[in-house]
Symmetry: C2
């Protein structure tokens, strides 16, 4: 069973101190769908726009948040294998990301991890500023592993 | 002229609050060569190893640190265009990275930025734990831009 919503929120926002320090928040946590955002304040780079490491983290956490809402956290855990991030334009506001996994994908990934001990899942995401412009695009390769 | 050493250190370790919060430290800052490390403590993920976002940041900052030690900070500034990170094994200790740019590369990049207003530079790095094992490999594309 996936985690209860409030536990998924706690794990997403506070389980990793690094993530908590940057103020990442979960706006939606549903089976197969998450929406997260980070504040610009406190996460600026040397020219006052969102720092690359903060954007990376916003792009990376959806893999774990979708795990919490969609997979059986008692039987599996996620790790990240590879991440590519392309910075499209400076982010001068808070930044939001949405990520989805279909019910079909969730079942397929979980069945494969059950059978083989691990299964990859891929997330290709767009990070957007508050006006909806894409500031960065990511491609993350995760692996669901059996405990 | 590149920045004086103590100013380069201050900029590398403290200019970006996000970076300061994770405790990144510069062990060497020379023209064409930098060595940086991050502590594991405070940067752990959900399974107690170094969090991906901390590894990303350790891989990303050398582009800026080399800028500070090697390029003319009065005339140019750096931005990051793209970063790829491959996670090879969990990091269970502090993590170190070294990065180099040859004198020839520094001159060529700076001349191109002077002429065209911008010039790309590429850093392919290895992140290592305290036993010298590679925990992640990165490929970062930066751009030197003229003020």
């Amino acid at each position: 069973m996936p985690l209860p919503l409030e536990m998924a929120r706690l794990f997403t926002e506070e389980k990793i101190a690094f993530v908590k320090r940057m103020g990442l928040k979960a706006d939606a946590l549903e089976a197969g769908y998450v929406r997260l955002h980070i504040p610009l304040a406190g996460n600026e780079n040397h020219i006052g726009t969102a720092y690359a490491g903060a954007l990376f983290t916003l792009a990376e956490i959806p893999g774990g948040a979708l795990f919490l809402t969609s997979f059986d956290a008692k039987r599996f855990y996620p790790i990240i294998k590879e991440m590519n991030l392309r910075f499209r334009r400076p982010a001068t506001s808070d930044v939001t990301v949405e990520a989805r996994l279909s019910t079909e994908d969730i079942e397929r990934i979980q069945q494969q991890a059950e059978q083989d001990g691990k299964a990859e899942y891929l997330l290709e995401l767009q990070l957007r500023d508050t006006s909806g412009e894409i500031v960065a695009e990511s491609r993350g390769v995760y692996q669901l592993r059996k405990h």
